[in-house]
Symmetry: C2
Subunit: 328 residues, 2 copies
């Protein structure tokens, strides 16, 4: 049995999509228990494997993250994180304020010993359909070389345990493939990663190769990672618009456009990070999954499943071991 | 009459594509003179407005930039840059080693007084087809806030003079639109740009909005800019592959795929930065245009035209004025 704590109040379409996703998840997985935190008046479910815990406060998208976590003690997000901290649940999922969830991870759940900075990880789509583990996408915007090194370890464990890749190829995102390329941060990080015994470092990778299946894990700082993620999202949407515009302007292709409309939408979705399910906050002493703020019920369901798998594969225990090795 | 110096030996397909582009350019523009630098045995043109200057050395893609510029004094690239320095030509174009061309710009052509770091600028495609000025895409990987501020001035002048936008909207590329978002670099740059009298600062812009026509100039550091540029290039190619794969796997769409094949290729080209023509190295005391290493004759021709327009609109003189204002 896996127990997941869920924030009922986070996200643009909460609690509707959260309730729908939770219901679906307990229906599909017989070994899943959910503890749901939120406003009692909006709670509508009834299931033997769902426990409801009423909370009186809510953290909004406008709240200043650290202050919100420290002050709104009876918010659904803080109470959810506490459930992980005190061992009641093995993991948790929220679609709420990203900064606040990171703060809840840091100050309520707590870091793993030896982890300087947690990292947000996503799996990006690749041409083969296999996907690539990509971190950090926004937890640590001012990273140092040792943080990138630690991200490599966290990504290595994530790819190995959650994605079942025996010897994941770990690459450093950079502006050239040559050893001496980059800014001062990536140059220093390259030196630390090169020849590491803790993961299989395959060198620098350029942003144009991210989706080309040349690595299983791509490591970067939270500023650059967030840029890339949002750029992918933007390109998908803009690309769709350009396709639509170019196609509709050519008479002979109107038929083709109609026939392909659904396909193009599907492809744009592949590139839209809001559809990847959740991003996992790695380096914490518990499983914390961030579902996208504009999650649909389906996306939130994926995030719950992701948290469940992370718990089952003991990702936290595995990271504790490897990060410990490093800090010794 | 505009005189442009051209490096005949730079680029993957030199001198073939260079010769073809130069021939086309002098045919099309009656007020254009070209001074061509390169290996005499490969020179094949004959035109009253083309002057040929034989050179005995060549800078390759493998050369270390600064050393190459300092040692290969009779290379086509160094001689080309000298022609700008000594006033023989108003501008120059090369598809050779980017780092070497930047060094030639710095050490041969020289910086404008008051410019701390030159910046590489490109025009990215946008949904409307209007395009957006984007800099720095790789000249200065370790930028400080004051460099970003200067990039904003350079981009402002470029958009105004070369693109004819009266009051260009200048935005700072960042990981959130809110004032306090970003890493330490963008936070500091925001403070300097906010309320500037030298350009029309419209605040932060996220990477997902780059192609959405919300700004006329987008400013970033050379590391992030290069990342975004390569990511766009990669997405265009990977997207093409995914479309192809997805379409061919669905029977009913094979016809549609055939009909659209050409359109998709055209759209991918719009996103492929190698097709945007050249990138201009701004902040120098002369017009220096970098054509992409894998330029076709058409792309190199665009780069020559770009250099010509930059000379005609007196972009260097305009920048000298505004940058001077700043450093007073």
């Amino acid at each position: 049995m896996v127990k997941i704590a869920v924030d009922m109040m986070g996200g643009d379409d909460a609690p509707g999509i959260v309730l729908e996703a939770v219901q679906q998840a307990v229906n599909d997985f017989e070994d899943l228990e959910i503890i749901l935190f939120g406003d009692e008046s909006q709670y509508t479910l009834n299931h033997p494997r769902i426990t409801f815990r009423p909370t009186s406060e809510m953290i909004t998208m406008e709240d200043e993250p650290v202050r919100a976590i420290k002050r709104k003690k009876d918010s659904s997000m803080v109470r959810m994180a506490e459930a992980v901290k005190n061992g009641e649940a093995q993991g948790c999922v929220s679609a709420g304020n990203t900064g606040a969830l990171m703060s809840a991870g840091l100050f309520v759940v707590g870091r793993l010993p030896g982890v300087a900075r947690p990292a947000l990880v996503v799996t990006l789509p690749t041409v083969s359909g296999k996907g690539v583990v990509f971190l950090d996408v926004g937890a640590n915007a001012d990273a140092k070389a040792e943080h990138l090194y630690q991200n490599a370890i966290l990504g290595h464990v994530y790819a190995k345990k959650l994605r079942g890749i025996e010897q994941p190829r770990v690459a450093l995102l950079n502006i050239g493939t040559e050893t001496q390329k980059g800014n001062s941060l990536t140059k220093a990080a390259f030196k630390q990663m090169d020849g590491s015994q803790q993961f299989n470092f395959v060198g620098n990778i350029e942003a144009k190769m991210i989706m080309e299946d040349e690595a299983d894990v791509i490591v970067t700082d939270g500023f650059t990672g967030n840029m890339i993620l949002k750029n992918l999202e933007g390109v998908a949407k803009s690309f769709g618009k350009i396709i639509k515009h170019d196609l509709l302007s050519s008479m002979k292709n109107k038929l083709a456009a109609l026939m392909m409309k659904k396909d193009i939408k599907g492809i744009a979705k592949q590139l839209d990070y809001s559809e990847y399910g959740g991003s996992v906050l790695l380096g914490l002493d518990g499983v914390v999954v961030k579902a996208h703020g504009s999650s649909s019920a389906k996306a939130f369901y994926s995030a719950i499943r992701q948290a469940k798998v992370a718990c089952e594969t003991q990702i936290v225990e595995n990271m504790r071991e490897l990060v410990g090795e490093q800090s010794e």
